[in-house]
């Protein structure tokens, strides 16, 4: 006779009578309206479940199914050697992966690319956002113009950047030699470190506007009176920036960083077009490797293992960062 819903209700109401919270049939007449309320709530809950079922189904189909499928596939060997028939092979693919130098190399390169580009984008994007938040003539135009790189297709821009960094005809070398920094042209894309710098540069150019717009939205939600009060207390703009703008902008910064982290880690088109992973495979990213494994080598089992491991490492990285950041935020609010 006792059901959880009533016990809850009793618990909420009878704060003084904690010892016997579930004795609900004591006063049936009094409980009547509550039971009705309960029924309504149950019905509402049911309707709620029905309403979110389509969304859950879509989520299951779009997210859960591919991940589960990839995991199952990663336990099989399915490549040209098995005539594309799946043959169960347990964790062979994972064993091979741990000894695969190319995987760890591309993984490290992806990490370097991701971290350097999103940190640079955050700093430059912040500068952009602060500038665009000020009132000046032609601000609308400046805001629109700053978005243009973000709107251009990456593959096309990748081609353009490859020419910009060309050693003979490239704009970069031309500028540098006119200013007098260099005498002989630099082969930007022909050296591992310089090619990585060129890629990061192109990516920062393209996606900084995205971060700038997110931060700008955040800036506009900070009330002006905070700054005024701070100023009256004798603070200068730099102090205001550190103690008002930055803390209040943390959520937007986190969102921007998360978005960009996921995006940059999956970078594919820019590399494919600009360097093709070269020189010597030193700018190859994890997506390029997975693409080659699955689409060009037709090695589906191993490709799936690569996907699963990358996915797990990514989830772990995001979880750890989120955890650390949430801790620091609690500290910040706790001190105040």
């Amino acid at each position: 006779m006792e059901d959880g819903g009533d016990g809850e209700d009793g618990g909420e109401q009878t704060t003084t009578n904690k010892q016997q919270p579930a004795n609900k049939n004591q006063q049936p007449t009094n409980q009547q309206p509550k039971m009705q309320k309960d029924a309504i709530r149950q019905r509402e809950q049911r309707t709620g479940w029905i309403l979110i079922t389509p969304a859950l189904l879509v989520l299951a189909l779009v997210f859960a199914y591919p991940i589960v499928r990839a995991f199952v596939l990663s336990l099989f060997t399915q490549n040209l050697g098995t005539e594309l028939e799946p043959v169960f092979s347990g964790f062979t693919n994972y064993v091979r992966l741990f000894g695969d130098g190319r995987f760890w190399q591309t993984f490290g390169q992806t990490a370097i690319f991701t971290i350097s580009s999103i940190l640079l984008e955050l700093v430059i994007g912040m500068v952009f956002a602060l500038v665009l938040n000020e009132t000046f003539r032609g601000r609308g135009l400046a805001r629109t113009a700053s978005l243009i790189p973000w709107a251009l297709p990456t593959a096309v821009m990748g081609l353009a950047w490859a020419w910009i960094f060309n050693d003979q005809y490239g704009v970069v070398n031309d500028l540098l030699s006119r200013v007098g920094f260099i005498e002989d042209p630099i082969t930007w894309l022909g050296d591992p470190v310089r090619a990585m710098i060129a890629l990061i540069f192109a990516d920062v150019w393209k996606t900084t506007p995205f971060i700038a717009i997110l931060l700008l939205a955040g800036l506009q939600s900070i009330p002006q009176d905070l700054y005024e009060a701070h100023k009256i207390d004798g603070a200068n703009p730099v102090q205001s920036f550190w103690s008002i703008t930055l803390p209040l902008l943390t959520p937007q910064m986190l969102i921007a960083l998360l978005f960009r982290f996921a995006q940059a880690f999956g970078i594919f088109d820019l590399i494919q077009v600009m360097t093709g992973g070269g020189p010597a495979g030193r700018t190859e990213m994890i997506s390029n490797y997975i693409y080659a494994t699955v689409r060009r080598y037709l090695d589906f089992g191993y490709g799936a293992a690569l996907v699963v491991v990358t996915f797990l490492i990514l989830i772990a990285a995001v979880a750890i960062t989120a955890f650390l950041l949430s801790k620091t935020r609690i500290n910040v609010t706790g001190e105040r």
């Binding site: 050697g81 005539e83 003979q168 042209p185």
Partner: protein, 433 residues
């Protein structure tokens, strides 16, 4: 009066464009009746589908029309794909993987053949063609269409790497075109010293498929090999192969090639050849027509690749042809298309229009072809030295291994010996697994 005449004028103007429009309407109705509705009543033509790059699909339009005219019972449907051939390969791969490919014919680049054949996606055509007929095609094109003794592709157009050289610069220095690697180096160096040339030799050094294609020519010219397709023996760590890498590296070190060649693909090298004074260029036949329209028009010629004394010259075999999908419902009709397309007459019509390279030997010396493209007899000499990229199922992996380590050697992150030894080792591991 003036007003009335104006009125009539305006009426006439109003009617004028209507008449041709009306005529067009009648004609198109008749055309629909004749070509679509009537055939539909009499017999249902069989549809044969093929996917190819949009650019080439347009060029195939006249062939399609001619074929359908001659074969009213077959409807050849050409589906336009992306212009990037990698993406077309992806589309074919996806179609085959999902089973029940919608394409009856597969328009294939030569390097796809072993992989597609090994995956069991293609029909063996050996029984349909006589050896005598195959003899009329360039040997490299036929060999590149074979996998483990079966024929999986009918060659349509060919392709091969070659050496372009500037006739005016060579004349200015008083040189004959080079035959060997060392002659090429010497001429380049001396012309550069005399300030006649900006650069000696440009080639494709970026890490991509073109690097492997360029390297098989250098390997062959040094008497070395990459992979023996029959025994899967790997020859990348032989002293000759290491010499081949050292040759490429020396062109950069001695200032004959711009340091940026390690980042160039075909187009970058073509532009430098056309815009600067560059003596030699390694590239494909498509450059000829484009360079002919540039500033260096009439001042360049082609010849087979240079080689070591006593070794043969190598031209990396490329090219396209038609295979028949195993899942096709109409293999016989598809075969008729393939036969028509690879026929001498069709190739000739296509080549005269587009300037591609034929796969049939006799066309290179055909009077009409020679009249339009006077360099084709020379081109035959080039493409007869075919150097195949190894026709093995794991070609894509082998090519990636070579590209990575060759690029490492060329950019100086590894020594040639180190790079080639590791590449050979990894390739052997690949075959062992």
């Amino acid at each position: 009066m003036i007003k009335i005449s104006q009125f009539f004028q305006s009426i006439q103007n109003f009617l004028k464009p209507k008449i041709p429009r009306f005529l067009a309407l009648i004609l198109s109705t008749l055309a629909i009746l004749h070509f679509i509705i009537l055939p539909a009543f009499t017999q249902q033509p069989v549809t044969v589908r093929v996917l190819m790059q949009a650019l080439e699909a347009n060029q195939w339009q006249p062939l399609e029309e001619k074929f359908e005219e001659e074969n009213p019972d077959i409807n050849l449907e050409i589906i336009e794909g992306p212009n990037d051939t990698n993406l077309v390969e992806d589309l074919y791969t996806s179609a085959f993987l999902l089973g029940d490919s919608p394409y009856d014919l597969v328009y294939m680049d030569i390097v796809w053949v072993p992989k597609f054949a090994a995956a069991g996606w293609l029909e063996d055509l050996s029984d349909r063609v006589s050896p005598a007929e195959l003899d009329k095609f360039l040997e490299g094109d036929v060999n590149g269409s074979m996998y483990e003794g079966g024929l999986y592709r009918m060659p349509f157009r060919s392709d091969g790497g070659m050496l372009y050289y500037r006739t005016d610069l060579l004349e200015a220095g008083g040189y004959d075109p080079p035959e060997t690697f060392s002659e090429l180096m010497q001429i380049s160096q001396e012309l550069k010293e005399q300030d006649i040339a900006d650069w000696g030799y440009v080639w494709q050094g970026k890490q991509y498929e073109g690097l492997a294609a360029m390297f098989v020519e250098i390997l062959k010219g040094h008497g070395a090999f990459w992979v023996n397709p029959d025994t899967l023996e790997v020859g990348l760590d032989s002293p000759e192969a290491i010499d081949a890498v050292k040759f490429l590296k020396s062109t950069i070190n001695e200032g004959i090639s711009p340091p940026g060649v390690t980042t160039y693909a075909e187009e970058e090298t073509r532009r430098i050849f056309q815009n600067d004074d560059v003596v030699f260029l390694r590239n494909w036949p498509y450059v000829f027509a484009l360079a002919q329209e540039s500033e260096i028009s009439g001042q360049f010629a082609i010849k087979p690749m240079v080689h070591e004394p006593g070794e043969p010259s190598g031209a990396c075999q490329g090219g396209w042809g038609l295979g028949i999908s195993k899942s096709s419902q109409h293999p016989d009709e598809a075969w008729r298309v393939a036969k028509f397309i690879s026929s001498r007459e069709t190739q000739k019509q296509y080549i005269l229009k587009t300037g591609y390279v034929p796969s049939r030997k006799s066309l290179f010396n055909d009077p009409e072809v020679v009249e339009k493209y006077s360099h084709y007899p020379q081109l035959l000499e080039v493409v007869e030295n075919a150097a195949l990229r190894p026709p093995i199922a794991q070609y894509a992996q082998a090519s990636d291994i070579l590209q990575r380590y060759l690029s490492a050697a060329l950019t100086g992150t590894m020594t040639p010996e180190e790079a080639m030894n590791t590449a050979a080792q990894e390739t052997r591991n690949l075959f062992a697994s």
